[in-house]
Amino acid sequence: MNTKFTRRQTLTALGTMALAAGALAVGARRSTPELHTKPWRQIAMEVLSGPPVTRELMLAMPAPRQPATAWSVPAPRGVSWSDEGCVYEHPADLKKAVQSVRDRVREDLDSGRVVLTGGWVLSQTEAALVAMCVESAAQISEGRP
């Protein structure tokens, strides 16, 4: 039996092996994706309307005087909410997540779902968002992760 490969066969085999290796490499990367976290405070700075100084003031308010609603904005596909903020892999998913918060804020405002928080009139979602920031800041100041 002729065991010699032709030049063409050899190249094809090598190409197949390379593709397989590449696929394995991609698979390996997918199994351990590189995740990022967008901190609540940065999300708030993007979502709250007003000039930066006003947004900073809203975030610097004393502890909420009314209990904020639980954070209930559904996480779009590709992201999750954590104590630290929005966990995502791809920037496009983060954008979707921020937009979903914005949409929820707008729905709140259209329906008059607002609360007085530290003197500011915030939508319920904004108030919850600010509360998450306040909570994060408290955790940081207490040395917790």
């Binding site: 709250l48 309307s49 007003g50 000039p51 100084v53 006003t54 003031l57 809203m58 308010m61 707008r106 405002l109 259209d110 329906s111 008059g112 607002v114 007085l116 003197g119 500011w120 009139v121 939508s123």
Partner: protein
């Protein structure tokens, strides 16, 4: 004709078919309405043609609840308190007349349609220009909806004359020319003495003690919401068989800083453009009828100032801000009242004592009005709203101002057990005494009262024409 009781040559007695006590907008509207009547009218004015400290001091009084300046919010001079009138004018709305289940003691004995025919004359009398109830309004930018999906706010336009504080000047000119009218200046009416159900005469006096007697077939009391009650109470509780005189005092709850709007962009011109370019000209918002009914709130208007206020300690960030202005109806409550004070004025008449009380319903109305406005402002990108403590905290109502509107103290009702005057403004307990002005308002809406008390007075003028004929 205008005469001055201070002048020694002026008569010591007057006789007329109709005697009107008070030359403010209500009294003078009636007098002008009856210009072509074939009966004589005498109008008694405590002050002169210009403000005088001695007479103005008669307005001083006591307070026993919320702080209130009785002498600073009223003027005793020909034209009355219109002499410091801001001039803002707007008709009451149909819902203001209705019985609202969520507002105890609400409901006028008639509807808006009863006063509607008098608004054109009222506008003319107050130099407001043409009355155009059907003029198009700009589309409301209100995207804020009630839980039932109704717009929270309607947009409205409020008018004012060019020189509101001079609005009584034409009345003065007309008084000189009106053949059947005599206006007596410096004529302070002393406590009235009735003969059973009939008032036959009254005694007037200058501050220096010169007196005269005025006899008339019919009397109209038109001295304002504080003074109408005070004179009746000081007159041995005249027309007060049910103890209602002085009760249900109402003001408009007004706040120049109910909220602070921190603009998203520069206030002008982008801000004004967004709000319809015309806030400065009197465009504002108020609870829609549907919203007031669904949310069970009183009537309340809201707008923003046409200027940026300098930084204020109550507003965070040391930033300039745009004041949010509210103008709310006060709920009628018997614990808010006018009574007689302990001190007497130089004429020996007890001064007024005001016990001004604002209830929780009124407070909640103001709070919700600002909150909904904040939703609208945020949603539309005007700015962010911060509410200083007076509205948000228990310190209410510090920081809120009275609007210098005195109403409700001789309320109108179809049932004698629940009112001081009947739907024709006649005192229930008397046969020939009528009461004009904001004191007869059972409820007050959120709009400024001068126009509305004027049209009510014009209506009374027409009624008196029939009475005098009879």
């Amino acid at each position: 004709m205008i005469v001055d009781l201070q002048e020694e040559s002026s008569p010591a007695s007057y006789e007329a078919d109709l005697c009107i006590i008070g030359a403010g907008p209500a009294g003078m509207a009636i007098a002008r309405r009856l210009a072509d009547a074939n009966f004589s009218i005498v109008v008694l004015e405590s002050g002169g043609l210009r403000l005088e400290p001695g007479t103005q001091d008669l307005a001083r009084g006591e307070t026993s609840a919320l702080s209130y300046s009785l002498e600073g919010t009223r003027l005793r001079v020909f034209g009355g308190t219109t002499n410091h009138w801001e001039g803002w004018s707007l008709p009451l709305t149909p819902i203001d007349f209705r019985k609202r289940d969520w507002v105890p003691q609400s409901g006028w004995p008639f509807g808006f349609e009863e006063l509607a025919p008098y608004y054109p004359s009222g506008y003319e009398f107050l130099s407001l220009g043409a009355y155009e109830p059907d003029a198009p309004l700009p589309p409301s930018p209100c995207n804020v909806l009630t839980p039932a999906g109704k717009p929270v706010f309607d947009v409205f336009h409020i008018q004012r004359p060019e020189s509101p504080w001079e609005v009584s000047k034409p009345w003065q000119l007309a008084a000189w020319k009106q053949p059947n009218l005599t206006v007596v200046l410096h004529a302070n009416v002393l406590p009235l003495k009735a003969d059973g159900r009939t008032l036959r005469d009254c005694t007037i006096s200058t501050l220096s003690g010169r007196k005269a007697t005025v006899r008339a077939k019919v009397f109209v009391l038109a001295t304002g919401g504080i003074e109408n009650a005070r004179l009746l109470l000081a007159s041995d509780n005249l027309s007060n068989s049910r103890g209602l005189v002085g009760k249900y005092f109402m003001e408009h709850v007004f706040s120049p800083v109910a909220g602070a709007l921190l603009p998203v962009a520069d206030y002008r011109p982008p801000f004004e453009a967004k709000l319809g370019e015309s806030l400065y000209e009197g465009w504002e918002w108020r609870f829609s009828e549907e919203a007031a009914q669904e949310l069970k709130l009183l009537s309340c208007g809201v707008g923003v100032a046409n200027y940026k206020a300098p930084p204020h300690p109550a507003v965070p960030g040391n930033q300039e801000f745009v004041p949010i202005l509210v103008h709310a109806e006060q709920a009628p409550r018997p614990e808010s009242f006018v009574a007689l004070g302990k001190e007497k004025d130089p004429l020996g008449v007890p001064r007024a004592r005001l016990n001004w009380v604002i209830d929780d319903h009124t407070q909640e109305t103001v709070r919700q009005c600002v909150m909904h406005f904040a939703s609208m402002a945020t949603r539309a990108g005007y700015g962010r709203v911060f509410i200083p403590e007076p509205v948000s905290e228990v310190r209410w109502p510090h920081g809120l101002w009275p609007a210098c509107h005195h109403m409700g103290t001789t309320r109108m009702h179809a049932d004698p057990a629940q009112g001081v005057v009947d739907p024709d403004c006649k005192a229930f307990d008397m046969d020939n005494l009528y009461i004009a002005g904001g004191s007869v308002f059972p409820t007050v809406g959120h709009v400024n009262p001068t126009l509305n008390l004027t049209v009510l007075a014009l209506r009374l003028g027409d009624h008196l024409k029939g009475v005098m004929k009879g």
